[in-house]
Symmetry: C2
Subunit: 190 residues, 2 copies
């Protein structure tokens, strides 16, 4: 069992309805050393794909995407959920339903930082239903970029995201795969 | 002139009204190598203060706070602007006016991750009016924690944040100080 899965077992909480609380080390309080190790491992797995840019979504994707991008030696772009005043009027925008938020969120990227020649690795903290990641795929496709891989720290396999992304035909790598969260359990796959 | 100031001169854009566009390397697209260097430098400047936690605000504070925390070897907590479902009902919340957003934003921290025994370094991408940082100070004080330092990547000195924070009597360190943005210029201090 790797460092991340051990940490989830020790400190993660199953809040029911498939909600995993990991805000002590991933998405409110962050353990920078753990994030760096996860980024190193993800970068290794995608090292041969010629990635030129990591694409993620604010907010909780930023930490793992930043460390992965650092180990790959490429920039990271995080899609915004609201258009800041510093962004041009012409933007890439898509809508993605958010399970944990119970509503649809906008994902916005400036054309200045996502171009047709990019080889994009999409990265997020969770791969659950796959809807956020599919939104990021649409943004990359709108820019004419090539999605070469998809990665996440934690996969909730029982939400079917991997199957939903299979048609893309790109490698999908996650560090910690949870196969069952029923009855208060947290059960890992191999 | 340091690496960050050089980058601002080369790629930053003065959009008028004191708005500095740095979304090519700090707050939309992020240069992980630059962030790591900035984090290393900030960590060095605060190395002797016995920092136990770095506190920042989502979204654009996350990258520099994460790298600084990594070099200090402590966790980072980012205040949320909306309460996620994984957070308990009892929280620390304060309001901070946002110049660039033109409205007041909430800053929320879970009591689970900010306690009375913490020695807190507050860190953000910008020190401008100081209002966001003052909000983070109030959160730390509400938790009974001790604020031991304040840091930022970029200071817009002409917005008076440093003066507003002076009463706290803690060291304030910024890597790139801009003293004038009138007439489309970007003028650095020493």
């Amino acid at each position: 069992m790797n460092q991340l899965s051990e940490r989830i077992l020790r400190e993660g909480k199953n809040l029911g309805n498939g909600i995993l609380k990991v805000d002590g080390f991933i998405n409110h309080q962050v353990d920078p050393g753990l994030m760096d190790e996860c980024g190193r491992e993800l970068a290794q797995r995608f090292a041969r794909l010629g990635v030129t840019k990591v694409l993620t979504a604010e907010i909780s994707g930023i930490a793992p995407a930043l460390t992965t991008a650092r180990h790959l030696g490429v920039p990271v772009v995080y899609a915004r959920k609201a258009k800041p005043i510093t962004m041009p009027d012409q933007i890439f925008l898509t809508l993605a339903p958010s399970h944990t938020k119970g509503r649809t969120v906008e994902l916005i990227v400036s054309p200045d930082y996502l171009g047709g020649d990019e080889r994009v690795l999409i990265l997020d903290d969770f791969l659950a239903s796959g809807q956020t990641i599919l939104g990021l795929v649409r943004l990359a496709q709108a820019a004419g970029a090539t999605v070469v891989g998809i990665g996440a720290l934690i996969e909730k396999e029982f939400e079917g995201g991997r199957a939903r992304l299979a048609d893309l035909g790109v490698p999908i790598e996650t560090l910690s795969v949870i196969i069952d969260m029923s009855d208060g359990r947290i059960v890992f796959g191999d």
